[in-house]
Amino acid sequence: MLKPSSKAASVSFEGVTKIYGTEVKAVDDISVDIAAGTLVTLLGPSGCGKTTTLRMIAGLEMPTSGKIKIGDTDVTTLPATERDVSMVFQSYALFPHMNVLENVSYGLKFSGFNKSETRDRALSGLEIVGLAGYGDRLPSELSGGQQQRVAVARALVLEPQVLLFDEPLSNLDAKLRRKVREDIREIQQNLGLTVVYVTHDQEEALAVSDRIIVMNNAVIAQDGTPRELYEAPASRFVADFIGEANILSCEISKISGKLADVVTGSYKLKLPSRDLKPGNAFLGVRPNRVEIGKPGSKNTLSGEIIRRTYVGNHLEFTVKTEVAELFSTTTDVDAPYEVGDKVSVNFAAKGPVLLSH
């Protein structure tokens, strides 16, 4: 069996910019540090630069300016072959003319292992991903999930300093996706690997990551733990991109210390100011933090239920209020509100956050 990796290394970007052609900025002046032994996700909509960032770590793209370090080594100008990094591709990129064992042994052959060592390591790699005994098959004879695991094994057996995943789950069906992502997380934790993982699926990112780096338009929008991102998104973009959020316009009437007095419609709140100035701002509230009550309660928004959807383990409401239509979910599937009912709406204590534009 493979041992927990002592080789896992940190990755750091210092002011890295990547320009395609003459003006298309794919990555714009990014600086980030990824600690050894952690799983960090690059998350963002398509075209945000996350895959380019990943490929620069792999050495498949070279930055236009800036510096990339893996561990203590400056690898900025090293090609992929000479970096101690391996990658699991979105399409898996299994070599169709080699069987599973040959695929997994491929990198080992170029790493100075002798024949029996290569074989032993490849076989134990297959064992880790649960494919012992599949060595003689061709990739075309495997299911999508199995192919994916071969791709992981192939990258894993090299014990790289950094292991990269480029949207590894996008070609799998929904049920398998959950299973494979749990497997990846387990292997990463057991072996103590440094993993950089690219996805555009926010749920996947929340589930597997130690840390998430949200990218938008070639820059980092926010960098934090899954909980920080979900509960305290830094901007409107992040709030909207991660999970569902109600975004309302509001006004900050007064700042006192770290707290701000906020008004939206007839609803007054005191919230952490997050360094905002008095004036117009936005309020982000997760649907599960939007509470519905009897009409006429004090300091609430009044509204009317315009949609009610039963989805098994919870109820979804859309409430039309004086400021906006709010989307609310509750696990109380017996909540007594029907379409057309007049209600009041308030936000749970830790719910709303102020957002800049």
């Binding site: 970096r83 090299l158 070609n171």
Partner: protein, 743 residues
Amino acid sequence: MTLAETSRLESKVTHPTLVLWLIVGWVGFALLPWYGLEDGILSFEWLLDGYPFEDDYAPALFLGLQGQKLWLMPLALFLAMPLLAIGKSRSDESYGKILVIAGALGFGWLILQGFSIGIRGWNFEWLNQLFGELGDRQFGMGSGAMLVASAFLFIFTQGIAARGAVNGDIFVVGAIGFVVAIVTTFVFYPIANMLASAFITEENTYSIRVFFDKFTDRRLWGLSCITAGGRCGAAWNSLFLAILVGIITTGLGLAFALAVTRTNMRFKQALRALTVLPIITPPFVIGLAIILLFGLSGSVTVFISDLLGIQPTRWVYGLPGILIAQTLAFTPIAFLVLIGVVEGVSPSMEEAAQTLRANRWNTFRTVSWPLMRPGIANAFLLGFIESMADFGNPLVLGGNYDVLSTEIFFAIVGAQYDQGRAAVLAIVLLGFTLAAFWAQRFWLGKKSYTTMTGKGDSGIHPHLPRAMAVPVFTIAAVWTLFTIIIYCMIIYGSFVELWGINNSLTFKHYITAFSVRLDAEGIRWTGSAWNSFWTTIQIAGIAAPLTAIVGLITAYLLTRQNFAGKNAFEFGTMLSFAIPGTVIGVSYILAFNVPPIEITGTGIILVVSFIFRNMPVGVRAGIASMSQLDKSLDESSLTLGANSWQTFLKVILPLLRPAILAALVYSFVRAMTAISAVIFLVSAEYDMATSYIIGRVENNDYGLAIAYSTTLIFVMLAVVGAMQFLVGRAKIGRRLDQSRTNV
């Protein structure tokens, strides 16, 4: 019963398609001249010349009423039979049965009488003995017979559709029947006919000995070039040449493809533009340029002999010349195939190898190369087939090096006039090309790894290792330079008075070929080339839309429909690609010189030969773009109430406009540059540009030939350019590769 159901039932009882084809059948039988007319149906002279009673112009019905050609009369019975079905519902069992029986019997009878009774009465001796002398004869079928034949065909297909074939889809069954019928008539029948004529003795009887005598001829299989310094047989020569050309063009094509995709070379667009050259260049023009350079009075030959003080020789005539000319002509084709192969290797495979610590050389050796191998074999086979089928270059440059394609020609047109020998040679040639075709489809088809899945596979191809990049680049550069020189020679040569003897510049050749005079009667086309030029434009212009239609319908059936025997259908329609032009030419004059289909010497035979020579191009263009259209488009149209013909017309065709245009232009251009089949089929009235040029070359009138060729190249460049402009270029979404700085 709802309103919709009622109307649906009613429409089942009217059968507009059946009524239409019955009308067509009866028009053909009772109104149009049954036999082919010398001046063609469109001259309408026949209307004033004793129609409908004059024998030559009479419809079958009037012939019968006058007591002549009574064997045509049963057709009336078969045409009347479907009338019984008209009142019936489609779901009625007897409806389908009647149509199938009437169609099959009518079509069968038509063929039977056509083959039994020819220009000299009964065609077969045993019929003479059985029925006695006929005392009558018949000519090739004309417009009337054609309409009746199509009526029977479509009545038959409607019958089997009614009985449930292909979900009872009338249009699809009809289209399949149509394609099968025409491919059988114009591809399989002539080939089969030619095979049979290889067994015919001089006394007009069949004998297997004749075949073996001719097959084992020393001129075909002799090996004395190895054993005794003599000449080898044409079969060995062709095989040896084709293998050499296959290897060299594949090597060069691969070097080019690698240079374009995997080095940071400039001028990539210019290199890609070179691929258009073989499309617009008549095949033998390269041969002419080789003569200008290396012939007895060629520039290079003269220069070298002056330099070294040696006697100039005719060394280029023979294997070296053909080899150079074919390599030049076919390398762009190999390049075109291989660039698809080289680009088709998924870049993420190569990137994966790199992240797995393989260096550039190991990546190429262990991943890129094995994945390309099947495609490379494919390019080799293509070069092999092209070389085997090439006729123009061996004719111009062959010297004493006999190859099959030219031997066939000389067996037919030369002093020896030996149909049997031509047929045997054609069979041998066909055997080689079919074997290559078979290998390409069934052996390689299973081994190909290069697929465009359309799944997010964004990556960039790694650059070649330096040790390979340098030779690849050098080869590409030298070859490009050589090609440019060749084409400059062609243009320059067209202005030279008499190459090697009088090198002064002149417009003389262009004036001889293309002079125009304006006088009282308007423009007079006095140049000697105008006649063949306009004929070529006309024939190519008629053939192009027909080729596109047949090709697209076939592509539609192959990509969109499932039916029994689809694989055989596909093989049959693509087969004509593997049949060399000379073989088509020989088989056409053997098959269509006599009734029932008598079209040699007409423009029709040229049009028909172009349609079936170029059909695979149309089919492929259609398949390529149709498989990009999602099937759900058709299905949504069908569920919205359109039938498959309306779907084809309103949904598929509009989306295929680029493919249609491409098929049109390519079949037009290929028809203009073709020579191998054409040279057998031209007549004094219908002379084509290419055969006219070959005629000039045989008279040693190189100036005119080259001037004419240059003109053709520019005409076709304009046509292809106009199309490129109209269609634009398809792009494959890959990461921008210019940005690459390393690796």
